[in-house]
Amino acid sequence: MSSIGTGYDLTTTTFSPDGKIFQVDYAQKAIDNSGTAIGIRCKDGVVLGVEKLVISKMLVEGSNRRIFSCDLHAGIATSGLAADGRQIVNRARAEAANFKNFFGDAIPGEVLCDRIASYKHLFTLYGTRPYGVGTLLAVYDEEGPQLYQIEASGVGMRYFGTAVGKGRQGAKTEIERLKLSEMTCREGVLAVAKIIYQVHDDAKDKAFELELSWVCDESQRRHERVPADLHATAETAAKAALEDDDDD
């Protein structure tokens, strides 16, 4: 059986003879080819980091963000097709606002994950193409901090730590080494920055901007960009660690 589509990959509404939906697999490939995004759940919150590949020196720093807030207590890092990513974030924001309006309370992480997942899943059923987006969802609700990953297929799961994009294999290996249940978010920010710098492929992609965000006790359980000083410290430490490795 061919693993390239050859005719079974034209629409989302077609199963291949092996029972795969190639359009969904291809959407996943779009995500796998984009810049790395990482999320880790520490003992007091969740940290998100994105390797934002910069295609032109003329781009203003801090524009074209890939980390968004969907509510005070929830944030999303997108990887894959940026325009698709914005649609997912819009939907997540609408779901969160709707929930608040209807139930009078902040949307729980599990519920928001399910809503995003079932929304993405819709697009794997009918005539449109699937969303080429991998979503990392960080939430801090009454159950504590949670990290979810929702794939292009609409499958959402809760993680201790995860990575999507080009450098995900290397990043996941590094994340597995961390003792996440003992780490604070401050330490987590440094770890995430270090890992992103590590998996960034200098040969293939040159410049990149590091986006970092967190939702933790220190940020009063609000999803925010990491404070500028901590961000700077993390980047310096990450660059230094890379040079140390080069020296070895």
Partner: protein, 247 residues
């Protein structure tokens, strides 16, 4: 969108092939197998037990968020096998159906009727060319007020029927062979025998001895409390021990 008529499209959309086959539906069945899990259900004289593997592919996944055993209502449980995103969609619809029924009619939806509704929806997907079938086989179970323990399976073709014992997924055929031998004499299984039969069947077809944390077990029992329950690890442990002592 590809046209319905013309050579070759019978493999691509849900139209008949010249031999009268629906290839897309057959491929949907393959998707259920391709997921790599096996699920088993056994009906006893006053209980029903379903069991399946719990395989977490990635150490970084939080295992408490991964399950294929869900509650449709307090009394009806469902075990899904196949594509998880499709399964969640099916479960969501089933929950809505059950809740609407309870609201409109004032009593709990019977599990055979729910299975019919799910199956009818699946059939619609096999007839409309612009939709694809869901790659899910669902095993539904409950204690019916009038009929006692009930076990149903629905599949991507829109077929559903009640079973004494059934299986779905990667090792479906091997499991069915094992269960046929077990149920041949039409035994009247007690609760413990039902649970142990289901677990033993899974162990046999997968040729491995499980730890209690590697399987999920769901039950319903006749009596005062007919609610769907997921067995806690200690109880699963007890059943596993009973099975190994028997052998």
């Amino acid at each position: 969108m590809s046209r319905g008529s013309g050579a070759g499209y019978d493999h691509h959309i849900t139209v008949f092939s010249p031999e009268g086959r629906l290839f897309q539906v057959e491929y949907a069945f393959k998707a259920v197998k391709a997921a790599g899990f096996t699920s088993i259900g056994v009906r006893g004289k006053d209980s029903v037990c379903v069991v399946t593997q719990k395989k977490i592919p990635d150490k970084l996944i939080d295992p408490s968020s991964v399950t294929r055993l869900f509650k449709i209502t307090k009394f009806i449980g469902i075990l899904v096998t196949g594509m998880m995103a499709d399964a969640k969609s099916l479960i969501s619809k089933a929950r809505q159906t059950a809740a609407d029924f309870r609201h409109s009619n004032g009593y709990e939806i019977p599990v055979d009727y729910l299975a019919k509704v799910i199956a009818d929806q699946a059939q619609v997907y096999t007839q409309h060319a612009y939709m694809r079938p869901l790659g899910v086989a669902s095993i539904l179970f409950a204690i019916d007020e009038e009929l006692g323990p009930q076990l149903f399976k629905t599949d991507p073709a829109g077929y559903y029927v009640g079973y004494k014992a059934t299986a779905a997924g990667a090792k479906e055929q091997e499991a069915v062979n094992f269960l046929e031998k077990k149920m041949k004499s039409d035994p009247s299984l007690s609760y413990d025998e039902t649970v142990q039969a289901a677990i033993a069947a899974l162990q046999s077809v997968l040729s491995e001895d499980f730890k209690a944390t590697e399987i999920e077990v769901g039950v319903v029992r006749a009596g005062d409390d007919t609610m769907f329950k997921v067995l806690p690890v200690e109880e699963v442990e007890d059943h596993l021990t009973a099975i190994s002592e028997r052998d």
